[in-house]
């Protein structure tokens, strides 16, 4: 059988840094024998002096541990993959809170009852809880994920929690953002979250930053926080926060989610890579849909946010095995998860041996993420919803193209439009009349710009406009007698 053996980074010292070995074998035992024949050093890493497989190395066939199969006698089939993963990778870490700061905290009568769950745990106990109470944690983005992290950390008794977000609570976000309430709609998210934290635990000091993080303010805002939690949803803010954390030597707990899937890891601490090591550049703008265009299953941020809070608790208390050098990826819908190893890149421009980014001011984050408009490119004209409503009212000849996805159109139809998904635009451009104006509509007015660029590249020459603010902005103006979200 043709078999691939995948070797975790920390075991590659035994295989001349080779991450993957292809070989022929019928059983796991045969495969490991073939591996050690090729790399005799690997025998030292895999077997103890009695010739038994070392217990700290887990061997998986696919996603099944061979201990739950037939051990080394497990039969293999053509194309199987064997993973060698050391069970104790990552290791324990030291607390980010110094012993002096821990000792300066006293646990008072009222705190004994409030924090009794942690005080009972051997793993946290009094010293761990004191370190949590001394901790200063900054949370960027107080939406679905950040809100869950904030609530867990507030209940845990983290001394100071910084909340940064420039947006306001919206009705459509309430299904996933459980920190905010119906009565908080249109209030700044940071104010709503601060109120919630105060109700949950008045002993926590909450600092709010109602502003967008930029290269100009990020260093000052992060100030003397011990840990930064990135719960934002844009690549611009993620790379900015990553770089600032590396430059200020702050550990970052990173979480990201998409529909049903979640990812969590710790960046820039100990042996952990940074975001640029993992992903040197973001995908081109417009390729990955934003959260609002793709939806999130509402229990996912609860699961992922609680995991991120647990990572913060481990870093503060200096116990357990945080996700240092590892990333947990999980799919809530199919209940699959993978704990993968993450590796630092010595050539990384921010955390590598010879960094080229020495201050966040060195970077143009908008440009890096493909959001800066190219000055040589022909500008894209927009049309206001009021103007479109007026022209429709006058029965002017105008083509409206709806580029939204079917599930978005199902929420609210835009009658009388031509429905063409972005992927089909180039092929179907002959359906458009270059003699009249064509207006492109999406949910927020971003994908419609991508649609116009796509058609220009495909050679379409007719006049094209993007509906400013997308369907969200237009619904109340063009269809004033209907609910915006039926």
């Amino acid at each position: 059988m043709n078999i691939t053996v995948i070797i975790a980074a920390s075991l590659r010292t035994f295989t001349n840094r080779t991450p993957e070995v292809r070989l022929q074998a019928d059983t796991v035992g045969d495969a490991l024998q073939a591996l050690t024949d090729e790399y005799p050093e690997a025998a030292r890493g895999l077997y103890d002096e009695n010739g038994d497989l070392r217990t700290f190395v887990s061997v998986y066939v696919g996603d099944r541990d061979i201990r739950s199969l037939k051990g080394v006698k497990t039969a293999l089939k053509e194309g199987d993959e064997i993973y060698l993963i050391p069970a104790i990778a990552g290791g324990a870490c030291e607390s980010v809170i110094s012993t002096d700061r821990m000792k300066a905290v006293t646990i008072e009568e009222k705190e004994i009852r409030r924090y009794s769950n942690h005080l009972q745990l051997k793993e946290l106990s009094i010293k761990g809880q004191k370190r949590i109470m001394a901790g200063r944690v900054f949370i960027a983005g107080i939406g679905a994920l950040g809100g869950v992290v904030a609530q867990h950390l507030a209940a845990a008794g983290v001394g100071t929690i910084g909340l940064a977000d420039a947006e306001s609570v919206s009705l459509e976000s309430l299904q996933t953002q459980t920190i905010h309430s119906t009565r908080d709609v249109d209030r700044p998210r940071v104010s709503s979250a601060k109120d919630r934290i105060k109700k949950l635990n008045p002993l926590v000091n909450t600092v709010i930053h109602q502003e967008k993080l930029t290269a100009d303010n990020v260093e000052e805002v992060l100030g003397d926080y011990d840990i930064v939690v990135d719960a934002t949803d844009s690549f611009v803010s993620r790379y900015l926060i990553n770089d600032a954390c590396i430059l200020q030597r702050k550990p970052e707990v990173f979480g990201a989610m998409f529909q049903m899937e979640g990812f969590v890891t710790i960046l820039g601490y100990g042996d952990s890579p940074c975001l640029r090591c993992l992903y040197p550049s973001p995908p081109p703008a417009g390729i990955v849909p934003t959260c609002s265009a793709s939806g999130v299953m509402n229990a996912l941020p609860g699961i992922l946010g609680a995991m991120m809070a647990a990572e913060v608790i481990k870093l503060l208390s200096g116990s357990g095995e945080p996700l240092i050098g590892r990333m947990l990826a999980f799919d809530t819908w199919n209940l699959r998860y993978h704990l993968v190893h993450t590796v630092r890149d010595s050539g990384c421009p921010v955390c590598g041996a010879n960094p080229s980014i020495r201050t966040v001011q060195d970077m143009d984050y908008e440009d890096f993420c493909g959001l800066r408009e190219d000055p040589d490119e022909e500008p894209i004209e927009g049309i206001d919803p009021e103007e479109l409503a007026r022209r429709l009212g006058n029965n002017e000849a105008i083509t409206i193209v709806d580029v939204r996805e079917p599930h978005e159109r199902a929420i609210h139809k835009f009658p009388g439009t031509l429905i063409i998904p972005i992927g089909q635009l180039a092929r179907r451009q002959k359906e458009l009349d270059p003699g009249i104006d064509t207006v492109f509509v999406c949910k927020e007015g971003k994908r419609s710009i991508l649609a116009i660029r796509t058609l220009r590249e495909a050679g379409y020459t007719g006049p094209m406009f993007t509906l400013k603010g997308g369907f969200d902005a237009a619904a109340q103006i063009i269809f004033p007698n209907e609910g915006a979200w039926l």
Partner: protein
Amino acid sequence: MALADHSITDKIDITDVTCPITFVKAKVAIEELEEGEILQIHLNQGEPLENVPRSLGEEGHEVLEKIDNGDGTWELIVRRGAD
């Protein structure tokens, strides 16, 4: 031995609380001490007397003596262990 034979560093009363706060209060008090120092714990007979000494023992502290006050309360004499 009697109470007077011990050099008591600190005392706490946990007769006003129930499990698990009994143990948590005792744990917080003993961890405030240095290794080798002695804590005197005033506690109720029954569940606290059964569980608190055992739990402190599991945490690495040494229960030196249990003294019956004859009124349903006891004094527990515990030496703080190493971290």
